[in-house]
Subunit: 146 residues, 2 copies
Amino acid sequence: MFLSKSFGYALRGILYVALKDTEGRKVKLGEIAEKLSVPRHFLAKIMKLMVQEGILSSIKGPYGGFLLNENTLTAKLIHLVKITDGVEQFNTCVLSLRKCNSKNPCPLHYQMLKLRDGMLAEFSKTTIGDLLNQETPDFIKSISVI
Amino acid sequence: MFLSKSFGYALRGILYVALKDTEGRKVKLGEIAEKLSVPRHFLAKIMKLMVQEGILSSIKGPYGGFLLNENTLTAKLIHLVKITDGVEQFNTCVLSLRKCNSKNPCPLHYQMLKLRDGMLAEFSKTTIGDLLNQETPDFIKSISVI
DNA sequence: TCCAAAAAGGATATTGACATCTTTTTTGGA
DNA sequence: TCCAAAAAAGATGTCAATATCCTTTTTGGA
Ligand code: FES
Ligand code: FES
């Protein structure tokens, strides 16, 4: 449903680190990939992107791993979309006709506009921290496949 | 934005036929493909699917082509989605984790649920005829690439 | 100083959506 | 009866997202 697998991996990966990074514990790629059932090397690239974007930190070498930084919890979902899928989709015509435009609307334009704007608004305001604070009975389960 | 190109081709194709099929005129594949700038042979398969699904008719041979039938104008958008993309996406988790389920929600479940249900409702009620009746200044332009 | 562990980087493989090309079937009219 | 036009069917090609594998860089500790 319009979000790529890469986005899902990014979100689940960063959430997993946020859950496990308590008292300076670093979280290793292998652990994340295994616990979330995500292809390890593919996840590596996505984690690296988040590090490069500054919303996550990493340390190389033995005793290294991924850890939160001051931007992680306030990072917005739209930022993850930017990293993985590109944010253009929010102003591209759903029929792939052209740049979406109310001056020259496609037959689905008005039906989709409100839905898409709702989604954009949601993704622009929701942060990683917000997701962690939702009262989910078993959060770790919620980001796993089962 | 979550709708496949195939869906767009199907929708634009059926709308084009609806626009041009006046007084029993049949619309040829080549004309549709050319006017809508859609790959001809790919469109052929999608048009055929719509015919097989009974929401469009076709006649082979010289003077053949595509034409409306009694189901065309009342066909719902969700039907086109079924034909081209499959309707599973409306009850699949946006993070591709599992069958979407409020008993075992993913971190984005509640945010997405309302948006997705809105979309499903919209697609379940809107018909091809509805789209044709929207007052768009130049409808033919609205289904073209430009 | 060296080693092993871990992230980073880069090369290759797979897959499914999308696109193109060819052959077959159907059919109205000369 | 035959031909040409059109849809239907099927075979093959392309490309980007996804996945896997291998190599390089970094670094804490023995
Ligand atoms: S023009 Fe197609 S969604 Fe706006
Ligand atoms: S469980 Fe993920 S969207 Fe419902």
